[in-house]
Point group: D3
Chain length 294, copies 6
């Protein structure tokens, strides 16, 4: 991942959008009685200095979640970032240092880690895919296969790992899939119908299952009637290469389906522009991070 690609990614969502997620997570964990262990074992005025420490190496994302979780329980807490989201760290790296009311820090710990570990896991897995395709023109894309309630955070983590974002929801772009094609009576008819009805600020992508469908999509005239992006769904490597040749750069091509770390490089080398990987958000293991008392 080159530096400018990383810089080019969209920035973190504003605290205004993250804070409600963090507070809901705290409410879920605190329940009705709050942290009864800390209430029993920690003096109300005790202080805790502690560090968020990576137990394994990876790419960090979500430090704002940890900061906001702590601030929600102790508005006067100190939270000093030692790395920034998007940085690659080694096992043992100190990510942030905190100094806060001890009860507040312990009550916020699990929520802070649940978000930070999960988002860093997404960023780390994304970075692994991005590394695999280094030197090709292909970029790694996420999908809408995100955790319900965490989409804005997980898509942010994908960007921090060097990936790009596909649609954020059903409403910000058109993606014509097999059911829509069937309902319209063909790829071409579906594209035409979408072009006619879509707003001028909305991009249109169509999923094709064969080279014939690809040709039908490319054949829309005038060229402005063509889809902006064509998704090549479950194409083999030969078919992908032929699709790239057929398209000749006139439309953005996205490869999709059955992509894993072992297969992604070969797919990238076919010359497609984007490769979408649902696993980035639906199956990323966490990055193990802990909170160590200082």
């Amino acid at each position: 991942m080159t530096p400018q690609v990383q810089r080019a990614a969209l920035e973190a969502p504003p605290d205004l959008l993250i804070d409600p997620i963090v507070r809901a997570a705290l409410a879920e964990d605190l329940g009705r009685a709050g942290d009864i262990t800390a209430q029993a074992c920690i003096d109300p005025d005790a202080r805790l200095g502690a560090a968020f420490v990576a137990r394994k190496g990876g790419v960090i994302a979500g430090l704002a979640c940890a900061r906001l979780a702590l601030a929600a329980l102790d508005p006067a807490a100190v939270f000093q970032e030692r790395v920034q989201d998007g940085e690659t760290v080694e096992a043992g790296a100190v990510l942030a240092v905190i100094e806060a009311n001890a009860r507040a820090a312990l009550a916020a710990e699990r929520v802070a880690l649940n978000l930070l570990c999960r988002l860093s896991g997404v960023a780390t897995l994304t970075a692994a895919y991005v590394a695999q395709v280094a030197g090709t023109r292909a970029r790694i894309l996420d999908t809408r296969k995100t955790t319900p309630g965490l989409r804005i955070l997980e898509k942010y983590a994908v960007r921090r790992g060097g990936g790009s974002n596909h649609r954020f929801g059903l409403d910000d772009a058109i993606l014509i899939k097999d059911n829509h094609v069937a309902a319209c009576g063909g790829v071409g008819a579906a594209i035409d119908r979408a072009r006619e009805r879509a707003g001028h600020m909305v991009k249109i992508e169509v999923e094709v299952d064969s080279l014939d469908q690809l040709r039908e999509a490319l054949a829309r005239r005038p060229t402005i009637r063509r889809p902006d992006v064509i998704m090549l769904d479950n194409f083999g490597l030969d078919a992908l290469r032929e699709a790239v040749a057929l398209t000749a750069g006139q439309v953005i091509l996205e490869a999709s389906g059955g992509v894993d770390l072992a297969s992604v490089r070969a797919i990238a080398e076919t010359g497609v522009d984007y490769i979408s990987v649902g696993a980035l958000t639906h199956s990323a293991p966490i990055l193990d991070i802990g909170l160590d008392a200082l």
Copy 2:
């Protein structure tokens, strides 16, 4: 664990608790303009018959989420379960059949699948751990390392996979960990303080890092002052065996730390009562399920 014990596990949360999660997920996906692809390509009155089909084998959990997602967009939709949560299915199995307004079905599809695949992934991974420890006394436990906002669902999925639930939050039991021990000046002092302050309906668990700490915990007198559960954190197999021998069934023992599918059986064979596995909820890959038009 015998089959009827598994059936006996706590049931699904009531729709009253699941429905807000599903509706929030739909709102996240629909955004402001809704499913603009379906609006463009599908007639408003078109119908869709479709089936939720497992692409891989595993244990199913979360069919209620799919049902509620569809009902939220088409209250008159038909949703017929063909299997029940907790069942193990083969790849290709039909999980449920639906008949609904086509736009509603397509708009609900991703949310339904995001929840169903994720929860079935948790159930499937849990079942794999449970299978590993078959024949031992050990039960597989989850942790609080759950996805923010989805805890009640993920813990339900663990139960459906044959696992047991640890605490649901910071407020429903006391779990004394290293920071609390340090604050109180020792394992014994921490237990005493918790016993003194905890309500009589609240169980107390203490995490110990060594056999010495275990002995200190077991030495509380009268025996009613002992913790209800002792967590043996990152003990080796020999230490676990010694802990089991020392404890002699007087207190429930939970092994924790660094457990994976390769190591869990050996741990179970030491004789501990419970083995907690964070990965059940923080790193389970999804179970691939799709919605196929009929």
Copy 3:
């Protein structure tokens, strides 16, 4: 705009998105004690048959809001639409007929009308602009100058009036304006920076204030680096014509600024593709509609 193009506009948002708006409006009007006039003067079991009647002619939008307001207070109420959203009606036209608990109907009346009148006002004003540009290639666009909380409804009303939607929010397309240009050091630099950073599913529009800026925007190479849409802000008619000639159909052109019913036709005749009109949503008078007892 031909009739089928109007029919092709994006459909109404699902009830799932409208219902919370309607219920919040009812809560605002009912306050704590509810409709104390109806409670004092109407028997609890009295029935009311009534009709929503247009007091003036116009284009109707928002019947679903009226239906949902009534249903929220009397789930068994009958609501029969006599026209559909998007239809042009004469003064005196019956829009819908209801039969419901009388208290519920009277308590829902003002909320139903506040939404229905307001949205029909937006649709009617939009239709007036659309009629002015009939026969030209120009389409009428809305803006983000909508009523806080009602954006999805007002943009729907614009579509029902025959207009098209611009962005739904800050997140679904890029629109580079003067402040962004200044921050980047020029139109071209701003476009380049946005192209580099924007996702591939995101369209980019740039606002230009002069023909020089237009030329700079058109000069990006390769052509895929050009903006998708160029907004000609406050251009005179001659400048608009020159811009259309310069652009030669390579990029979509939107005219913006100081558009009113008197000026819109001349602007449309310059050959621009879109004309955006903030007044559609920020200054539309309501369409007068009442609820008459039968």
Copy 4:
């Protein structure tokens, strides 16, 4: 508008009630990904000095909304009011000056303006009506024909324009209209029933359609059984004058129906106490205000 009338108006709602409206509006505009244009084109630490400037003359209302919108995205932003709500300004007047994080300022701009322009539009239209009736005893009243979700703000804007508020909702006063009269079997019976049932802290108004109904309302005995206010609905000028003479100051009289800027003075000169104007809130064009970089 005389100074003491303005002073007499109820003050602005507390921030506690405005802030949720502002934050919901920001969430609506930011969507999931936030302001992607600012993220692409503005450096994260850039600052922006800017001024809210009136593009046309009018009466200002809603500066608190602009302040809170900015503060929600940049809690450290500076917001200095140069005028106060209720002041009449000329085109070009600087209303407030801000200094803030540039991304935050640009992301808050549209929400701030949408509220400020709309409320200032209401205040300005109200002031125009108030000016028309200057020197008469009549005061200008709003109605419940407000924008759903914005009632407390729009009624505040009416006060800032020199108008008075009618009911805030269905629960804070009784207003007997034609349907209630019909249900009770006559104006007198309806008044009696309302008097009998209403709380002692609740005022009662009745709408009458004729002088006969007015006489029936005035005839209630003892006088404490009369309505507090009588609304003369769609009375001609002669009938209004006769109503004023008949009533002789014993009950407050409100004229209603078909009032516009051209007709309001003549109505006021009949001697009525209040004139209610739905257009103040349902059809006020915005006051054009912009945010100019300094």
Copy 5:
């Protein structure tokens, strides 16, 4: 108060306003895991027939809360009222009979009873005060000393017990108290200021601490400038009688302060119009009601 006056009291709030309170109460009680006892001990499909039975005699209020609590967990449940809110029942009376899913019924039981017992307690205590003043002109009033979150329900219960409602909140009438008088420089000045600023649909009450203050309040001229209601705060019986004589029916008089069941009749016999009793809502013991399986 005659029976028909009691029937005339304002009716129950619509379900739309009660249901969110009931659902929030259920969420509070169900927590994360729901009713784990019923899950463990009751078969999922078991049915339960049961009756809500009064353990002591009193006035019933809040049956709608019980109905909605049950419906929230079992939409198909049967709930048959045997008495109506406002009825006086003996110990042992069956209030309602239900037939429902057994788990749902048991999970809803406590919330249903918590609301029903509390509201019936308020109604019963109110009825006791009302009975004490029978035959006098005095009516019993509540205050704003209600349980946070339950005001609309508790004020409804007061009406069901035969009492009348004072203000529902700070916004629906003006009540000038000692701090306001001090800020304005005297009772008369405070009344004048309130009259000048209050809307015409808003009643004004002033609290006076002495006969001199009462005289000052009554002396406002013209008479329409007088307060609508005067509260005689902590007046002795002689002072109350003198206040009634002085006022001579020109203004409504409310006695307040130190009222209990022993003292209320003597106060009522002084001739005041209203007597407000904070204890109705802040200190009413519940009416004991249980749910008995049939």
Copy 6:
């Protein structure tokens, strides 16, 4: 109440959980127009110094609610506690002194007092029960008969009064009652079924109605299968004593049913461990506290 018992109680819930309750209460009281009396009679910049003063003696709980109510309306207000929650005060004691914007202080007053008086009432009644059982082994317990929406606060107040908390909800412990016993076919069967299905961190209590049922509960083998707590429901004093003798300290015993201040000491002297008293939260009169201007 001995000092260490008080110290042992769980601490106050974090502000994060209290603040939403306080803000909802303020919204309920402010309604739409806010405090119109203060707006009319108090200058916007006026200041108020005032003290919360106990009108009667008792145990204080809920000062945080008063603090948060004031801070919600005036973030810069000064709130100085003069006593702490849990302290017993005499009539006339100053609990806290405030200095704030006068309008904010007056608008927050009623909400602050409604919570503070109610919670102090709960604490005071609890302390009275606790005092009655001084010198016995019995502790006073609350129940789930709390005010909907205020459970966490009322249970906190019970602790401040020296009592202990029973379950916080249906999900944090198992309590087998008569309906569950009936469904399972007996006390023993119900216990067995609950033991089999409950999580290892969940305590189990069973309600018994007779000594025979008690014997059945105690007879579960091995002893770890016995319930953790047995509730003796409506046992007479002799039966309680016999139950204590039978149980011989092997299981915690809770007496329940028909407990009042007159009977509680005799019950305590039977040797039971806990006595639960629904009246603590369902029928506690408030402690009278006022806000006096300084």
